[in-house]
Symmetry: none
Subunit: 206 residues, 4 copies
């Protein structure tokens, strides 16, 4: 398990990065093998097809969500609303880091392979559900600060929507402005919801 799984892990990690940088189609298994220091044939011990390697990568993303994306924010920020924007800021930092190049790996794969690889599509959906779940959790924690009729599930979807759409435009323009503009609008929207929620609380208390 040790040596083997470390080889397997190396392959998955290499594939993850290459799929992120170049996309699924544009990444060749020869590249994966070379960059992971595995032999060409060895790849097929762990993954019977390229698609199965992709599935493993998508599973990895599910597993990385908490330790890489969520936990760092949660450990730094406690306010649930700010945690949501902390997550959005984490993606912003990713854009800064890559010079607006690679964007969101899940979003990339979503648009590239959804039609053709149904099993990958399911795992992509599961990734999105993971993200949405954490955001939903934050919103639920701030439940009392929102107006009563706010649909927090829809709002969580919306946050994810904004994040992905904003990343896309930032990449297309190679510029953070569309990202910042989108997040600013989202902030304005949520502020308005919180403002109304605050009024409700006040009147309720009174």
């Amino acid at each position: 398990m040790t040596a083997t799984s470390s080889t397997r892990d190396r392959i998955v990690e290499t594939a993850r990065l290459l799929f992120w940088e170049h996309g699924y189609e544009a990444t060749s298994l020869a590249d994966v093998a070379e960059k992971s220091h595995a032999r060409s044939g060895s790849l097929y011990h762990f993954f019977r097809t390229k698609e199965e390697l992709l599935l493993a990568v998508l599973d990895r993303y599910v597993n990385l969500l908490w330790p890489i994306v969520i936990e760092p924010v949660f450990s730094r920020v406690t306010d649930p609303i700010e945690r949501v924007f902390g997550i959005l800021d984490g993606y912003r930092q990713g854009l800064v880091y890559t010079g607006c190049a690679h964007g969101c790996p899940i979003g990339n794969l979503a648009l590239e392979v959804c039609d053709d690889l149904p099993r990958a599509r399911e795992k992509i959906a599961k990734n999105f559900e993971g993200w949405r779940g954490w955001i939903r959790k934050c919103l639920d924690e701030a439940k009392d600060r929102f107006p009563a009729n706010v649909n927090r599930e829809q709002l969580a979807v919306f946050v994810l929507t904004v994040m992905e759409g904003a990343v896309m435009q930032a990449r297309a323009h190679q510029n953070l402005e569309p990202y910042d503009a989108s997040v600013a609008q989202l902030r304005d929207y949520i502020n308005r919801l919180l403002a109304e929620g605050a009024q409700r609380s006040k009147s309720t208390i009174q």
Copy 2:
């Protein structure tokens, strides 16, 4: 000239559809040639590389924006705010039509080729600018119904952001719900802006 340019057009249109359905990498020029009833070598009479064909496709999208996307909505709807949601509804119909399969062709290409093909990236940005321009125009027409401090340019970016992010999730879940949820949230936000704007007008009149 007619026959000639029609061959070229046929190639571009075929490539447009294939890039939309399968993406840029997954589309082979052999497919493009066959489906456009051109011989393999003829392709290179018009386009020196696959990338140049992509550029022609992206130019075509710029040209199609008004007649295919905008005009049908504008001829049906007159209220500028409703025109924005009319455009969003047009994309929804596209999702219905393809069973949430292909999504936004520009968005797809944005995430797939932005990093690797700089010239394509520029044309993708130009496409986004086209969309944003029409939305901005609608928002400007409704200028007086918004609060004074609304940043309509940011808001136009935000609309596009929502559209693209919503399409992505709809595809990933093969389900319109995330799309409808996102548009509903956007509608709520804009309603709140309009409500505040209406108050401003009232007070101004007073």
Copy 3:
């Protein structure tokens, strides 16, 4: 004739240079057309095949021999033996000029196409005959300075042999040394012949 033949000349001259720089096979007619500012189809008005273009180039070399190679030397040098070495020095200058890159255009084509293009081979042979003819002429003029039994025809062949073999090694080593060494040896040989010839003259006179 004027406009037409100038187009034709441009094509031939362009092909000549490209064949010289890259060889016959590695030169594409598309390159020739582009660099000669001729349209792709136009080429076939003047030359029915690529081979015929090569034949025209080889004819051109026959025509250029006197004005470009021989005349400049003959106008500068009068001694027939020194004219031979002047021609060799002309080729040396060509090597210097191209950094030992392209070498002798006839020699290049000789080794590349002799086997496959019989008509070209004939014209290449004719080119060599032209060179050999001028060298032979020089040697004949110096007839009395050589020993009586010198075979001047063989010696002319030998001079050409040395030139071509020396150019080849200079190119392979990207270095003039093998060229200079070969010419030095040839010079030594001819000096020895002339020394013996001088003795003969002396004894004859006596």
Copy 4:
């Protein structure tokens, strides 16, 4: 390993022959694959590019020099001067064998690829060095029979020069005469050197 390396060897040997017969550019890898009974893709298991295959061929020529070219002459001839002319005669036999068709494989490649493939150029130079080395060795062994001031390194270069230039003309004229003429001249030159060398010995002994 045996079966494996034999496949590789077969490919190299096939390429060697085809490059010799048709040149580098005019040889297609499809031909190489077919004639070596390898599948098209297999070629790239061993050689990443056509150029690398050429490099392997040139390495092979280095290895073949002794067993194919030098050893047969050395085992038949003992006099060092005659060994030099034995090598030249070996090339003559090659011309006879191919009807003055293919010539010297190294010389062919030298003129065809020197400019464009720097790594090949180096190996071609190394081949020439190999040849020159053996000739030099012969001349060194006959050191005492030459005049004291003979530059044997230059003379070795000269022998190679004559061989290559003579082969070229033989091919161009499809006739052994230029070859024989050139070798005869070289023989005459060396005879004169040896004659002078013999005189020196005589006077030295005296």
